[in-house]
Assembly symmetry: C2
DNA sequence: CCTCCATCGTTGACACCCTCCACGATAGCC
DNA sequence: GGCTATCGTGGAGGGTGTCAACGATGGAGG
């Protein structure tokens, strides 16, 4: 209800717009993360897939990955292709459904994931240095609720 | 310092990662905003340019727009071209520097800006419905500091 | 005045990402 | 056995971010 009135005197409400700020902050973080992942031959996209693949022993279906990451399934195909070509993940047939292919991280993949994780963590720590630990936690919670709500609006 | 230890039992720390959440939230907001702007022949990009152009009477240089919006100057050229072709903004020569071209919104541009603003505001209100007014304000402040800090890291 | 360097706008190229559509293979219901 | 839904895959099209180069202009210094 409030925040709707914009100050006529100064510049745009643009720099106060949550959407604009989200877009800007996201861009900054993604760019910084990509820079720190470049040395490992990864990007944010492939790194997130590698994370998921390394999470479980049995593997994760590509469909599930697409859901969790909010990506189109066709994108997941390309990312897994890329990681598989580098020997970091592999596709194995599901024992219960011959349509699905379970993606798991190889030993090499888990090693790269660990090494890259160190760099990404350091970068994120630097990016979030402006906020205290409590504020970071708060931000995480607010964003989580935002994402959950937005999802609901689209899905349901 | 904390938050570095990840729970080994459950899924990835991905859904708890601030970078991932930022990316996700930004995507949701941008998509929703684009949808509500489509009826006005605009997208988030062109809308933000139109906002800046409508802010001042004298006009804004394209260079300044690029700085404020965090875009490459070449992108601003295309966006202004698009808006100018639609008759929403116009380029005028600067009285003090013949290199710069000052962009101002036309009357039609200001009218469209106002109409589109109503729709975008409504969409954003819906997107942010998960958060209370106080939380929205807090989120805005946290993001502002994040963006300011990230900028400094790159620029200085 | 003339020269050297910085800046503004513009164009072009390139890679990345998102979205949608279509298809073969398989699963599950009736 | 046939109909419909789902999984993975491929392809097309448009939006976006990044970079290099260029002409035109501005500004500093000899």
């Amino acid at each position: 209800m409030e925040g709707h009135m914009e100050q006529a005197g100064d510049a745009t409400a643009l720099t106060d717009d949550v959407g604009f700020l989200l877009s800007r902050a996201s861009g900054l973080v993604v760019r910084a993360s990509n820079a720190s992942l470049a040395g490992h031959g990864l990007r944010v996209r492939s790194y997130s897939v590698l994370l998921l693949a390394g999470d479980t022993e049995e593997g994760v279906s590509q469909r599930e990955m697409a859901d969790v990451l909010g990506l189109d399934p066709s994108q997941v195909v390309l990312l897994v292709d890329e990681l598989a070509a580098a020997g970091l993940v592999e596709r194995r047939p599901s024992p219960v459904d011959r349509r699905t292919r379970l993606v798991t991280a190889t030993d090499a993949g888990r090693a790269v994931r660990a090494r890259a994780g160190v760099d990404v963590d350091a970068t994120m720590t630097r990016q979030l240095a402006e906020l205290t630990a409590g504020e970071q936690h708060l931000l995480r919670e607010l964003l989580t609720r935002l994402v959950a709500g937005g999802r609901g609006a689209v899905r349901v």
